[in-house]
């Protein structure tokens, strides 16, 4: 197996260090966004990496890149921590438009799934895209988004579902395994 996660699953100690060096910044950036302070974020990063290493055997390169897989695990852990923490990160109200990463950065640095997601987001209406950004990037709950945007909660949920579904379809088409 050549993937870092595959080698971790096979018990290669060096692969663990490589995993930290390749994905540490990614995990830290998500953790910092979803944590109230740097100390909480550092604890969360350790939890995330343990989850990553324990889940390494489940990684399937036909389904997603390692970066997307690890981002998924990090988000799960951090959403759970956020949900049950009374120390919320500073969820600043967003300006009307956000400043997402450049297309070139997405394509070159974040991988093909991120590029597909970026393309899908461009197809959304501005208000849908804003709700997705508040939810996915800023970690705001649906009710927080409804309050911040003055949208009905049902509309918020609908926008989130449509945005995620669009990206999911893109990813599944790429993987050649659309299931629905």
């Amino acid at each position: 197996m050549s993937s870092v996660l595959g080698r971790i699953a096979a018990g290669e100690a060096d692969a663990v260090d490589e995993c930290i060096d390749r994905f540490g910044g990614l995990v830290w950036s998500i953790a910092r966004r979803f944590s109230a302070n740097p100390q909480d974020a550092e604890d969360a990063v350790q939890d995330v990496f343990l989850d990553v290493w324990k889940s390494a055997g489940k990684y399937d390169e036909k389904v997603a890149s390692e970066k997307t897989f690890i981002a998924m695990i990090a988000r799960r852990r951090l959403i759970d921590r956020l949900r049950y923490s009374d120390r919320r990160p500073d969820l600043r109200p967003l300006p009307e438009t956000t400043d997402p990463a450049s297309d070139e950065h997405v394509r070159l640095e974040q991988g093909v799934e991120a590029a597909l997601a970026a393309e899908s987001l461009k197809e959304l209406r501005p208000e849908q895209r804003k709700v997705i950004e508040l939810s996915i990037y800023y970690g705001m709950s649906h009710s927080e988004i409804a309050e911040a945007t003055s949208m009905p909660i049902g509309t918020v949920k609908s926008h989130i579902w449509r945005g995620l579904a669009a990206v999911r379809h893109s990813l599944e088409e790429r993987a050649g395994g659309a299931t629905s």
Binding site: S85, Q110, T179
Partner: protein, 269 residues
């Protein structure tokens, strides 16, 4: 195919704001009935969006990287050879377990501890995988821990909470900080059916947020076994353990405890 609407709703909720314990339980059951559904479908989409919106990741602080590398070393050491299914071990008759009878006042202490526990739940843990590496001879390793200098080995006494599964149960937790290893020694805990429920250990570390105790892994008590020794799979560094607790959870352990059944707690002896 068209998925049941509720499954779709909960997968989206999980990917964006998490689920309550009841919702997670429902989803687990529904997904078990729909094995054709990829449970990661929306989580992966959310991760891809996250990456698309994020800028270049920052570098790790060197101190944090060093902590992760040490954690990785510990993990690698614990995970190799491949982890067997770690169940409880029968204590050999000659196991040098130095059991301590619970001191007077433990029942009251247990009640106080339960009150204290109200503050840390609900709590999140990693999705449980197989518990930590079971040494070839857990009783021997427990004996080795007991022979270590007192300053390096901490002992905790179990106190039942009133849950019927732990009526009359007792025993100890032996924890070595330098080794980052430890064992549960439990007598009288009711057998469980691993297909229905498992026991799960939680470790409270004074240096961590008390709302997020360390997940110590799941274990079983087979029928006919009155005493078990279970290696502790802390996973991450436990710097200053102050309390251990055992709950009853669904097979594999939980991400969020329903706090319905706390069966044992242990404080330092």
């Amino acid at each position: 195919m068209t998925l049941p609407v509720r499954i779709e709703e909960l997968l989206v909720e999980r990917a964006t704001q998490g689920l309550s314990p009841d919702e997670q339980r429902w989803l687990d059951g529904a997904l078990a009935e729909h094995p054709e559904v990829d449970p990661d479908r929306y989580d992966l989409a959310a991760a891809a969006i996250d990456l698309a919106l994020a800028g270049p990741p920052p570098a790790l602080r060197p101190a944090l990287r060093e902590r992760l590398v040490r954690l990785g070393r510990d993990y690698t050491a614990m995970a190799a050879p491949p982890v067997p299914s770690a169940g409880p071990r029968r204590i050999p008759e000659r196991a040098p377990a130095r059991r301590r009878a619970p001191a007077h006042g433990w029942w009251a202490a247990a009640a106080a501890l339960l009150l204290a526990l109200a503050g840390w739940w609900p709590r999140l843990t990693s999705s449980r995988v197989a518990p930590g590496p079971a040494p070839a001879t857990p009783a021997a390793e427990l004996a080795a821990l007991l022979e270590e200098p007192r300053a390096e080995t901490r002992r905790f006494a179990w106190v039942p909470t009133g849950d019927e599964a732990a009526s009359g149960a007792g025993g100890a937790v032996i924890w070595s900080g330098p080794r980052q290893r430890g064992y549960l020694e439990i007598r009288g805990l009711a057998p469980n059916d691993p297909a229905v429920e498992q026991y799960q250990l939680w470790i409270f570390d004074a240096t961590r947020d008390e709302r997020f105790p360390v997940d110590g892994g799941v274990f079983d008590v087979p029928p006919g076994v009155s005493e078990v020794i279970v290696p502790i799979d802390a996973g991450i560094e436990v710097r200053e353990p102050v309390l251990f607790a055992v709950t009853v959870e669904r097979p594999g352990g939980v991400v969020v405890s329903s706090r319905e059944r706390i069966v044992l707690v242990a404080e330092p002896v």
